[in-house]
C-alpha cells in the first residue's frame, strides 16, 4: 500500500497531495483552541477589556464564523423572514427581519457559536455578521441566547440598551419603546447605553428604559421594596440623588445584594458613597487593602476589584467554564 496514503511518510504521492489540497479546504479546526487569558484588571473595566482584547484580533475569531447567512429553524407555528413564512427552516442575511406571532417560535442557529431562541411576538433583525463580531437588533419581544464563543462575539441592540455577551446565556425582553429586562442565566453580560454600563452576572438581572439605558444589576429574589427603590434610583425623577430611595436599598440589602451596592458606586454621587460603603462593608467586608476613602474616590482599583472577587461571582472572561451551560 502507498505509504504516503497510510501515514504521510515515504515519498509524497502527487495524486494524494492533490486530493489533500482540494479537499483540505473543507476541514475545520475545533474552535476551542487557545482561549483568552484571564484578566487581572478591575471588574469595572472587565467588560471593556474583554471587548478590546478580542476586537484587537485574537486569531480565534475565524472559528466562530457562522457565515453570511444565519440558519433559522421554526420551532412552532409559522415564523416569517422578511414577511415570508418559513415552513421548517430558512436563512436570514444581514438586514433580514425575523418575526414570530403569538403562536410561533424560532431558533437562530449560529453554527458552533451557539443559538438564539426567538420567543412568540418578537421582531429581530440581523444587522451585522463577520470577523467574529455579530450583531442583532431586538426591536421587540423576547430572545434567549446561548453562546459558546469568546466574549463580545454577539451584541444585541434593543431600543434602549445594547447587551454584549461575555461568554454566557441570557434572556432579553423589551417592548417597542425600549422598556425591558436582561436576565443572565450563565456567565456575564454587559448591558450598556453610551457610558452607562451594567455588568450583569449569572442569576442577576437589569432593567432598561428608553433614554436612560440599563439600570443597576440586581437579584430578582430581592425584596419588593429593594427593587422598587432601586428602580427609583435608576429611572426616577430624583435619580441617584434620591436619598429616600437609597436608604431603602441599603436597609433592604442582603449580603447577596452587595452585587447591587458595589455596582452603585460608580453611579452615585461621591457624597452618597460613604453610607453605601458602610452598608456594603457590613454585608461583605472589604479586603484589607481598601480604605473607605479609596472606595469612595475610586482611587484603589485593585482593592475594589478584590472586593468584587469576594462576592464569589467568578470572572466575566472565564467563558470556557460556562460553556456547558450552552447545553442546558
Amino acid at each position: 500500500m502507498n505509504r504516503y496514503l497510510w501515514d504521510k511518510t515515504g515519498d509524497p504521492d502527487p495524486e494524494m497531495q492533490r486530493l489533500e489540497h482540494l479537499l483540505g479546504r473543507f476541514s475545520r479546526e475545533a474552535p476551542a483552541l487557545g482561549f483568552p487569558a484571564r484578566s487581572k484588571r478591575s471588574y469595572y473595566w472587565l467588560a471593556a477589556a474583554a471587548c478590546v482584547l478580542l476586537a484587537a484580533g485574537l486569531g480565534l475569531r475565524s472559528a466562530w464564523q457562522p457565515g453570511p447567512d444565519w440558519k433559522v429553524v421554526a420551532l412552532s407555528g409559522t415564523p416569517r423572514i422578511d414577511r415570508r413564512p418559513i415552513a421548517s427552516n430558512g436563512r436570514m442575511g444581514v438586514g433580514g427581519l425575523l418575526e414570530t406571532d403569538k403562536l410561533s417560535r424560532a431558533k437562530l442557529r449560529m453554527g458552533l457559536m451557539g443559538a438564539i431562541e426567538i420567543e412568540p411576538n418578537t421582531r429581530v433583525r440581523l444587522t451585522a455578521t463577520g470577523a467574529g463580531r455579530h450583531r442583532i437588533a431586538l426591536e421587540s419581544g423576547t430572545i434567549a441566547a446561548r453562546l459558546w464563543a469568546p466574549p463580545a462575539t454577539l451584541s444585541v441592540d434593543t431600543p434602549s440598551s445594547t447587551a454584549i455577551d461575555l461568554g454566557c446565556a441570557f434572556v432579553v425582553q423589551v417592548d417597542e419603546k425600549g422598556v425591558g429586562l436582561l436576565r443572565v442565566t450563565s456567565g456575564w453580560v454587559q448591558f450598556q447605553l453610551d457610558d452607562r454600563k451594567a455588568v450583569v452576572p449569572a442569576g442577576a438581572a437589569a432593567l432598561t428604559r428608553p433614554g436612560a439605558g440599563p439600570g443597576t444589576p440586581f437579584y430578582e429574589d430581592s425584596s419588593g421594596a429593594f427593587r422598587s427603590a432601586l428602580k427609583r434610583l435608576d429611572f426616577g425623577d430624583g435619580g441617584y440623588g434620591d436619598a429616600g430611595a437609597l436608604a431603602v436599598v441599603l436597609s433592604e440589602a442582603r449580603p447577596k445584594d452587595t452585587l447591587t451596592l458595589l455596582s452603585l458606586f460608580r453611579r452615585l454621587p461621591t457624597s452618597a458613597r460613604g453610607e453605601l460603603f458602610d452598608r456594603a462593608a457590613q454585608l461583605v467586608p472589604p479586603p484589607a487593602g481598601l480604605t473607605r476613602e479609596e472606595a469612595i474616590e475610586g482611587t484603589n482599583v485593585p482593592g475594589v476589584d478584590a472586593w468584587w472577587k469576594k462576592l464569589g461571582l467568578g470572572n466575566a472572561k472565564n467563558w470556557l467554564v460556562n460553556w456547558r451551560d450552552v447545553f442546558r
Binding site: M1, L23, L33, K71, L320, W323, R324
Partner: protein, 160 residues
C-alpha cells in the same frame, strides 16, 4: 480523560472535544450537506455530553462518538428529506469547483470508504490516527483507504 469528563470535569470534556472534533466533522461531512455540518457537530457533542455517563468503557469513546454522529446525520437526513441537493455556495473559484466536484464524488462512495477518505484528505488524519479515533482496526482503515482511493480513481476516470 474520558473518566474525568464522565465525573463532570468540563475541561476534560473540552479536551475530548478538541481531540475528536475532526473525526466527528468528517463523519458528518461524508453524509450531510456541508452547510449543515457545523450545527450537527455541535449537536453530536451535546448528545455525547448528555449521555457520557452511559458509556461503560472509556476506551470505546471514539467508536461511541462516531455512532452518535452517524445517528445524528441519519436523523438529520430524515428530518430534512434530503435527497441529492447541491451544497449552496455562491461565487466559486475554478479551483473551488473542482474541490466541490471531488467532495461530491467522495460522497458517492460506499459509506465506510467515503468516511475514511474524508478523514484522510479533508481532515488530514493519518491511517493510524483514524484507527485510534474511530475505534476501527488499523487493518480496516487500511482497506477502506486503499479501496476507497481505487474506487474514487475509477470514478474520476469515468468508470463506475
Amino acid at each position: 480523560m474520558v473518566a474525568a469528563a464522565r465525573a463532570g470535569d468540563d475541561r476534560a470534556f473540552g479536551e475530548l472535544y478538541r481531540r475528536f472534533f475532526r473525526m466527528v466533522h468528517a463523519v458528518l461531512l461524508s453524509r450531510v450537506p456541508a452547510g449543515d455540518v457545523d450545527d450537527l457537530t455541535q449537536e453530536v457533542f451535546l448528545q455525547a455530553w448528555r449521555q457520557l455517563r452511559a458509556l461503560r468503557d472509556p476506551l470505546a469513546f471514539g467508536g461511541w462518538l462516531r455512532r452518535i454522529a452517524m445517528h445524528q446525520s441519519a436523523d438529520h437526513l430524515r428530518r430534512t428529506h434530503y435527497t441529492e441537493t447541491l451544497d449552496t455556495n455562491a461565487a466559486r473559484a475554478p479551483d473551488d469547483e473542482e474541490a466541490w466536484f471531488l467532495l461530491a464524488e467522495v460522497r458517492r462512495l460506499p459509506e465506510a470508504y467515503r468516511e475514511t477518505l474524508v478523514m484522510r484528505f479533508v481532515e488530514g488524519l493519518t491511517g493510524p490516527e483514524i484507527a485510534e479515533l474511530t475505534g476501527l482496526t488499523p487493518g480496516s482503515v487500511r482497506v477502506n483507504l486503499h479501496r476507497g482511493v481505487e474506487m474514487l480513481r475509477a470514478r474520476l476516470k469515468g468508470g463506475t
